[in-house]
């Protein structure tokens, strides 16, 4: 029972981490909360669903298609809704409101056109279980957790050792200076959104397989914001750690205390972190500068 709860928690935590990574990446570069991230995850899940049911593709192709689709949607989202504000150097409040608008727009557009029906992915993995030390563990849960670990590690390598990755880190520390050194900011930000969207696509497919696909499924990104805050906004290892911690703690609360109080607990945790440790476990100082 304990081990089973732990693995379920880790797999949910892995999905939270996938969402938190994309959100955190955008936050670290543009310094605003991208509330549209949940909508991109939802659209990624719908893209995956369309590929899986209409074209009956296999899991690998569905995942790739969803990553590409969600990545393109995220880049378009930036181009249409944020780039003007960014160039005008508008306060981050405006970017945030614009992001909120995108989220409401996309969610309800899906609701109005595709409908509020719940869709299920075809069964890719069946309901196989693995017996480990007397407790049964779902293979899907293990897979989701491992995939999240591997892909976030790959992103970490990309950010820390490639030329583009170095440019992204330079942009995080100082945008103006970075562009003076000859980095094309528009291209850089497009890459950041492409990466964030790609991770949103992966998260969308996993969420869709584990639960269902529906217009408001992006709301679960609230949990990703919490994970990102716990880990420290803008930090990739932090997003991973925060996601896993939140997933495990939540699963334990819902199976040992009360499933109703799970969300109340998560949000209390968020407020406690914001108040006591606003930079999270691994974040850098984010005091608003004069």
């Amino acid at each position: 029972m304990f081990l089973q709860t732990l693995i379920t928690g880790l797999s949910i935590g892995g999905i939270y981490a996938l969402m938190a990574v994309g959100y955190s990446l955008v936050f670290s570069v543009l310094n605003f909360s991208n509330f549209a991230h949940g909508a991109v995850i939802m659209l990624g899940a719908y893209v995956g669903l369309a590929l899986a049911t209409k074209l009956s593709l296999g899991f690998g192709l569905v995942l790739a298609g969803s990553v590409a689709g969600a990545g393109i949607i995220a880049v378009l989202n930036e181009r249409l809704a944020y780039s003007v504000l960014r160039r005008r150097k508008a306060p981050s409040l405006y970017l945030m409101i614009s992001a909120m608008g995108c989220s409401v727009f996309l969610e309800n557009l899906v609701y109005a056109t595709i409908g509020s029906r719940f869709y299920a992915f075809p069964e890719f993995f069946g309901r196989q279980v693995l017996t480990l030390w007397g407790s049964s563990v779902s293979l899907l849960d293990m897979g989701a957790f491992l995939f999240a670990l591997v892909s976030i590690f790959a992103l970490h390598v990309f950010i820390s050792s490639t030329r583009t990755g170095i440019a992204i880190r330079a942009g995080v520390s100082d945008m103006t200076m970075c562009s003076l050194m000859g980095v094309d900011l528009n291209r850089l930000i497009a890459i950041v959104f492409l990466l964030a969207g790609g991770f949103a696509g992966v998260a969308g497919v996993f969420l869709g397989i584990k639960y269902l696909v529906y217009p408001t499924m992006g709301w679960v990104t609230n949990k990703a914001y919490i994970a990102a805050v716990i880990g420290g906004l803008g930090s990739l290892p932090g997003a991973l750690a925060g996601g896993l911690i939140l997933g495990v703690v939540e699963t334990f609360v819902s199976s040992y205390v009360s499933s109703v109080l799970r969300d109340v607990f998560s949000f209390s945790l968020l407020i406690a972190f914001l108040v006591l440790r606003p930079n999270g476990l691994m974040g850098q100082d984010t005091e608003e500068k004069v």
């Binding site: 727009f105 309800n108 109340v264 209390s268 407020i271 108040v275 606003p278």
Partner: protein, 288 residues
């Protein structure tokens, strides 16, 4: 018949306008972004409804109690988060979380009848009550904004650091602004509960908070009349055009983006409707 219908739309718009007025104090004049003000409407609605429903408290008293309760609840979230001087987006996430947590609580308490909601609340609210409350609210809010405290709020919106250096106490002023906005949201909730005579936790979601915010932003952050006009238009136009709820939300979302991109000062900007007639009182503050 048709008059009844118009009257009911106008009444609902008026109830909504009181909540928008409250949020405009906080978002429009103090510059803090909230995604959780529906929670204060819920507190006002449930408190006043429970009082009249179970305890037969007079309606006026229940309204006051609902507003006061909303104000008190705002302290629960306001004191820890505002004291920590959170960045504006952290604060928005915290208050969003608070709103969601509060809704989960409402769905699981026995006195609120859980997720099924409270049916059969006496419909004490008349169009006249709403008009009266709206008028009183407008007078109170504009007086508040002209007071020392209001000036401090506006200073914080323009530049928190400069305001603090000029001696404005950030925590107290922001908390007061949150409390004032919550009180008006609570009043709006109380009126709503006794107009619709049925309330349910799902009526107070993020969607509701977004609609309030859309009205404040579309109307102009820094104006009282702008958000009121916008909120009236938001309720009346879709009703007149018979648009389905979901397309209404599609339009709200698009509107938020378009306003931020093309006209961040909103419909009225920093001006009031009165400045369009007679002498102009455009104080020419720059766009931020």
């Amino acid at each position: 018949m048709i008059m009844d219908y118009i009257l009911s739309v106008a009444t609902l718009a008026g109830i909504n306008m009181i909540a928008v007025l409250g949020l405009s104090v906080f978002t429009g004049f103090t510059g803090l972004f909230s995604l959780g003000h529906a929670a204060f409407i819920a507190v006002g609605a449930y408190t006043s409804a429970v009082l009249t429903y179970y305890y037969y408290v007079p309606f006026a008293l229940a309204l006051v109690a609902g507003s006061a309760m909303a104000g008190a609840v705002s302290l629960v979230i306001g004191i820890p988060t505002l004291r920590a001087k959170l960045r504006s987006d952290y604060f928005a996430i915290a208050i969003l979380g608070f709103g969601e947590a509060l809704r989960v609580l409402l769905e699981n308490l026995t006195i609120t009848n859980g997720a099924r909601g409270l049916p059969g609340i006496d419909s004490f609210t008349t169009p006249f009550t709403v008009l009266f409350c709206l008028a009183v609210s407008v007078v109170l809010v504009s007086n508040f904004l002209r007071s020392r405290w209001g000036a401090a709020c506006i200073a914080i919106r323009e530049d928190p650091i400069a305001a603090e250096m000029a001696g404005v106490r950030l925590f107290r002023t922001r908390l007061l602004s949150l409390m004032v906005s919550a009180v008006f949201c609570g009043l709006s909730g109380g009126l709503m509960a006794h107009y619709l005579s049925f309330i349910q936790p799902v009526m107070f979601t993020l969607t509701q908070s977004t609609q309030l915010l859309a009205a404040v932003i579309a109307g102009g952050m820094g104006s009282i009349s702008g958000p009121l006009i916008a909120s009236f238009a938001f309720i009346a136009l879709p009703e007149a055009l018979r648009v389905a709820q979901m397309w209404r939300l599609v339009a709200y979302g698009l509107l938020l983006v378009l306003i931020m991109v093309y006209r961040p000062q909103g419909l009225m900007g920093y001006r009031e409707i009165t400045s369009l007639f007679g002498k102009r009182r455009d104080d020419g503050r720059r766009e931020r």
